[in-house]
Symmetry: C2
Subunit: 467 residues, 2 copies
Amino acid sequence: MREDNDAARSAHVGREGEHDIDRIESPGFVEAVVGAIEAGERDILRSLIADLHESDLGRLIEALPPPDRPRMIELLGADFDFTALTELDETTRVRILEELSTQTVVEGMRDLDSDDAVYILEDLGDAEKQEILAGLSVPERAALQRSLDYPEESAGRRMQTEFIALPPFWTVGQALDYIGETEGLPEVFFEVFIVDPTFRLSGSVPLDRLLRTKRGTKLGEVVTPDRHVVNVLDDQEDVARIFERYNLISAPVVDAAGRIVGVLTVDDIVDVIQEEADEDLKALGGVAGDEELSDSFWYIAKSRFAWLLLNLIAANLASFVIALFENELQRMVALAVLMPIVASQGGNAGTQTMTVAVRALATRELKPSNARRIVARELLVGLFNGVVFAVIMAAVVFARFGVMDLGFVIGLAMIINLVAAALGGILIPLTLDRLKVDPAVSSGPFVTTITDVVGFFAFLGIASLWF
Amino acid sequence: MREDNDAARSAHVGREGEHDIDRIESPGFVEAVVGAIEAGERDILRSLIADLHESDLGRLIEALPPPDRPRMIELLGADFDFTALTELDETTRVRILEELSTQTVVEGMRDLDSDDAVYILEDLGDAEKQEILAGLSVPERAALQRSLDYPEESAGRRMQTEFIALPPFWTVGQALDYIGETEGLPEVFFEVFIVDPTFRLSGSVPLDRLLRTKRGTKLGEVVTPDRHVVNVLDDQEDVARIFERYNLISAPVVDAAGRIVGVLTVDDIVDVIQEEADEDLKALGGVAGDEELSDSFWYIAKSRFAWLLLNLIAANLASFVIALFENELQRMVALAVLMPIVASQGGNAGTQTMTVAVRALATRELKPSNARRIVARELLVGLFNGVVFAVIMAAVVFARFGVMDLGFVIGLAMIINLVAAALGGILIPLTLDRLKVDPAVSSGPFVTTITDVVGFFAFLGIASLWF
């Protein structure tokens, strides 16, 4: 019977777990929580949020009216798990931390893993950071300060400084007993690291291998050198790529002297991968990579403005090209009616090529070794689609205006612009990448400027020669 | 001394590991490999690629001329690790498998984990798939066939069917001994699952807890129900979201009756997360989500064509709007010169809003509960930037044409179009999402159609009323 119950319970929890997601953000639940906060009913609040996963607790916080967020944390006191703050976006987190008393933050930080503590501290102002650090014990402060001294977005910032390091002359049995009996080991770990007396890393033994080796065997005999050691100063994006590429679950982090200083696990890396893809996607859409849904009107208006200003300059440039052909436009108004089609088609084809190129550069699929082949292929695709759309548009224009010549002119301009779009769409990201400028952020305006200028110039220019 | 050497070696391996990445794709190395393949020098080939990680081996394969790829695999025979094929993109993988003899593929599949075997098999044609399955032993075939029977992109397709399941009445000591002594257990595992006699899951015990519990304790006393149980039919994207959200390393997969049938680990999920972000990014750029860098000219030209055709229709629609104002354009050629600026600025602003909306919908940050607030904010940003750009353009136009009125007209049109862009950019993705259409794929053409049509109509319409 017992097992049956357990099985049923497990499946049930699984299903309930999914329900939780909706329940937490349902107006009824949020209202109940708000009611408890505003009435100062600590016990009710505690029973409502008991057993919530830190991630769900984070979602709940985001669903609360902003003034209730710090209030809830103060009310819960030691019952609030500060890990939930790592699940919030930066803007929301910083605002809550600014409202909380230093005492509350210091108490909350004590129970955190080092990587979570650093994650929460790093976005705060210097004065606030120091105030909080001052409240911690000397060893806690020293550990956090050391992580904070590493550059932003480095492995040193993201790593966990808790790990198990053992000497190679210990036996497997000693290691197993040590793990079984020692208090205060990391909550979750996948391997033990083998180090010399100066903490220089010689390799690791995964837990499952430890279990499958005879107790009398020395660790030094079963250690394997870690093939993927992360340097503490490595950029988190490079680290993420190594994790992805080699399907790593965790990797040791060493300093310049080869001493182990921490460990990175894949759950931290998943967030980095997400962030990175997110930044590329936003950059291609003309939005700052760090724009968050919770950002204020002002911040967003400002950050969007910069990109639009760039676009305005590009659009004015195109407009000057059009102005070169004022006489033709006056003589033949059909040119004005048709010219945006050529530019728009080029812009879209260019964006297609650019999107593929930017993404392939980000994932390192596009390399000097295959660049020539890809450029040739894009050119061919541009030429082919250019010819097809030239024929289609020539037919459409003939049907609309009854002028065969005009169809020929727009067709020729279409071919030229789609070839230009293909070239611009691939060569601009490649060039920016070579110049160490992020192609995701900067390619867009260049590509559309090219397709606008070439589109208008080709169409109006050919028309001026023809008619 | 020994430890020092180890430490040095480890750091060295780390550094060499990074070098490997470049070395593999360097022309010299690829040439050496090609030389060995074409001369049939199996031993040289083996020494060149010995110790390559499956991922690097995959990269090497991609760097080889296509005819040499299957040749290398045949030449290496049992020394070739078929796992490397999972690192290739689909087009390349399928082409290689078609070239290989069934015998070679069958032999290669034998050593694979079930999830890798399924990954390789699933893209093949039915006849080929059956031929390979027929070559395997009955239990191997049955296991793979069962996974293949689950729908594409389901948890059942991605899961590993090797896991350790133990009864709750076993002691920790028995479990540890079983793990230590049994051959053929999964290569890497993070927990043991506790099941009843019918394999219904009651929970799991992570390895580290197993190590820290007294040997005499019954597993049933230390088991915790898994809070995040995956159903075998769950879509891989939903599973990825659960992994991300709750920072999971692995999760059991159960069937409808709650029986454990497999386990999913985060390294498989990382690939799903990547793919998903990749698809959104490409879709926004007007490219099919499954377009790969290795795809043929034809496939790419065809897939890009569909999107461009849609855009052509939209551009022609905008062109018809312009044609409504032929008289105004004829009277005042400056309108033709300026009108693309209004349309372009709207298109870019709309893309910004749309990008943010599509991404926030994909990550479930944008929900009915906050949609109204976000729509209001985007509207405000559109209005604000509209006013700012209206002022800028009015000044530019006055400087260029010396006509105050024209500046006023373009300014007004700019405000209208940026507000329309904001509304279209957010409401179209929201509506598509509600209609269960992927907003990443379909929002673009709608948004730019709106900003083109509104841009031309507002500018030329106001001008026709004014002048």
